[in-house]
Symmetry: D2
Amino acid sequence: MCRWAAWIGKPIFLEEIISRPDHSLIAQSRRAEECKTAINADGFGVAWYAHRAEPGLYRDVHPAWSDSNLAALAGQVRSPLFLVHVRASTGSAISRNNCHPFAVGRWSFMHNGQVGGFDQCRKLADMAIPDDLYGDRRGATDSEALFLRSIGYGLDKAPIAAMERAVMEMQKLSERFGSTPHLRCSAAYSDGQQLYAVRYASDDCAPTLYYRHCPKRCGYMVVSEPLDEMRESWQEVPQGRVLTFGATGVTSAPFLPDASRRAGGMVSTQYAT
Amino acid sequence: MCRWAAWIGKPIFLEEIISRPDHSLIAQSRRAEECKTAINADGFGVAWYAHRAEPGLYRDVHPAWSDSNLAALAGQVRSPLFLVHVRASTGSAISRNNCHPFAVGRWSFMHNGQVGGFDQCRKLADMAIPDDLYGDRRGATDSEALFLRSIGYGLDKAPIAAMERAVMEMQKLSERFGSTPHLRCSAAYSDGQQLYAVRYASDDCAPTLYYRHCPKRCGYMVVSEPLDEMRESWQEVPQGRVLTFGATGVTSAPFLPDASRRAGGMVSTQYAT
Amino acid sequence: MCRWAAWIGKPIFLEEIISRPDHSLIAQSRRAEECKTAINADGFGVAWYAHRAEPGLYRDVHPAWSDSNLAALAGQVRSPLFLVHVRASTGSAISRNNCHPFAVGRWSFMHNGQVGGFDQCRKLADMAIPDDLYGDRRGATDSEALFLRSIGYGLDKAPIAAMERAVMEMQKLSERFGSTPHLRCSAAYSDGQQLYAVRYASDDCAPTLYYRHCPKRCGYMVVSEPLDEMRESWQEVPQGRVLTFGATGVTSAPFLPDASRRAGGMVSTQYAT
Amino acid sequence: MCRWAAWIGKPIFLEEIISRPDHSLIAQSRRAEECKTAINADGFGVAWYAHRAEPGLYRDVHPAWSDSNLAALAGQVRSPLFLVHVRASTGSAISRNNCHPFAVGRWSFMHNGQVGGFDQCRKLADMAIPDDLYGDRRGATDSEALFLRSIGYGLDKAPIAAMERAVMEMQKLSERFGSTPHLRCSAAYSDGQQLYAVRYASDDCAPTLYYRHCPKRCGYMVVSEPLDEMRESWQEVPQGRVLTFGATGVTSAPFLPDASRRAGGMVSTQYAT
């Protein structure tokens, strides 16, 4: 089922998320507590923004806990915005191309959840990927297809609406050709400037999503599962919401992949930094 | 560009092809002599038939020369029919799923050559894969797409005609959307009973193909490049031919992907065992 | 802490141990039940005897559950005697050379347990390896050192006494320079003719060891943890015993690494096949 | 035989050495021109200094040219001092632990060359590693042993003399137990402040060593083989010399592992920056 975590704020070492906390992402790769699969050892990945518009992308198929290269990267690289993921496969092969995060241009994306019965609709999902993005379709995951679809829908211009449309398209595919649960999604994505986090499901059992403001380190941790026991410091994100983290703080809005969302206006709540 | 070799006959150790000859496939992975890329170190694979109808498939992304597991397999496994391949990527990523041979059911397939400008027509090629075979599309190579297309065209019932149709379809795709050279192909495929070897190109520069009858070991070696210096013992296969190796020996027929081939009759030459 | 299983008898597919049983070794790599580490995902390995005196050896650092090559091998290779192991590292790096089984000449060996505080005595353990065997010291595990020491003590001529001496040497090293628990051992080793299984500990907390006679398949399964729920069909081996499985069935004898064992006679019990 | 390159100066992207030059290190992994082995595809590694006293260390067994993670790292990480290496094994196994550079504390080291007949003296070389450093002996290469020996001889206090002593010790081991050529060495090592480069051989056939001052990028490239065709801009280092690169420029001194060197004084030449 996967676990993930992200940071946005002043630059910190990647290890502040990957390995140092009591229940770090590496700890969660061995023993997650809030997801169906306790073990998330089918690969891992990091996308980090530093000196360039495009993120660096480091992914491998080993369990995160035993990769000395990941430990080296985590201990040396500082970044103001990065996404980290540990994977439990929901069907597709163990291969670097099937590990998260995915990156296209300046966008990066990672996902915990699934498109139900994706095997039955993968071909249609692939067909729906815009021609000019098909070269970026390197693996076979539902997650990568969802990401490419959202770019095709205009992630650059409308980062939330584009993701809503892509999610709805995948959900409809699953409703038509797949199986329940049709769509479950706790995801994070970024263009290197802002970080978006979505929690949504077609059946209201969306994977968990939390965030915490870190005043000392001047930034936000956004996670699928808290990185430590200080539960009261983690804000749980309700289902059907999308958070936008940026220089001015965090805003929350409904995430409504169905048509009514796009017809109506956006409701947003500004949280002080 | 790749190098490959196959065996059909009495069971022999895989190493008789993989490592023991003077210019074995492992030697060719370091320094091939009859292909554009001297180094073929972007992965390797073995498909071997033994106790089951479906072949075993062992593939990895390391150079063949340094893989201790391949050496172990080669030294221990005996098979009456197997395909071995060392890869030089023509564009797609280094991943187990992009290594040859490919296997679906009892069929296995490996290829040296390319579909010209495949990146521009990969999406169309993927869309042409029959729905019931799309689950077997795990990588992004032109070779895997060609193989799946040929299965869709009825490799079971017409192993040569189906491959002709698939080759022509890929050639046309390249002619329309890709680039020259449109199609080059030195390939081998098998259902575990017979072994087929094809040499064809759209521009008459097909990669090389040879075979040798081995009376002592009671079988045939079929290779893209001879495994030793005894050149006179290797028969070069002309372009535009397909060989069928089976229990009764080897037959040769024209390989004509264009329409006239299917309209006309089959010319075959029987070689004594 | 590791889990392992072995077979001796008529040839069977490796998968009969590796993947097919309800609580197969692959299942145990995800969730073992009788050992400290539920997850054993720091590598795996198979040593199998077939057509040659020396075994084939296939090892890798991935979790066993996700390795397609292991699945292929298991489904295709038949052997009358093989050892399979899934690893949970007790300190040394994740590397093929640190995965079990180990093989030297016709001998193979795998181990569940540890030499307490091995880091403090590794150098001394390495120095004790006979000069002519040092070339086979490729990793850094206590297990490999124990194995090489036992070969040095004459595994060929006295397969039980040599292992007793090696175990005692390692135990003394740990008592002098290491830490408690000094030595815990549930191990299996073979020369391709017989299979030996040892259960011993310096503190009487030896890792578990079981075996089962399989009359239909004409052989014995020897395991660190039963492969299914039919508990009554598995014989638990008491601590301080060594079993010898061969063509005439199984014998049990005390395993006494301390000096008194070698001074006295051997007690053995013959079990009917 | 290996190829390597290093940088010291103002921070630059790792790719300025690894991939961007016409004959970059990745190009040399495919086709080196000034060494016995044209192909250096038995692994690669990077040690880079950034925010910490200890370097980051990224190593893997794949050919450098096909590793997407290396490409990501190279394109994102900037460092004022880093070492990069592509490996052609001289005997020891393909394993991350056998890839260069090696790192202990703040020291990093990489080597092109060999200790002749090291297999015959590896045990003695291992025994000579100081006890408190034996935990850092993770692989089986002559290079790692040489490095650990030099640390034991006081690299911290006398970075050149300690390396001379270690080199002489390994040379004597080879003279006594190994084979010719006894010692060949083109190596670089650093403590994160200065960069040392040595060219030495027992038989006067030392692997090549060059450096170039880069005024625009404010630093020095130090390489086993020039990274481009502008030969006149590369200074070849004579055999038997050690260069020290630091904040004040580069100094050259004799590298004399034999006893007379340590008995006499140090001759050094200061080159202007």
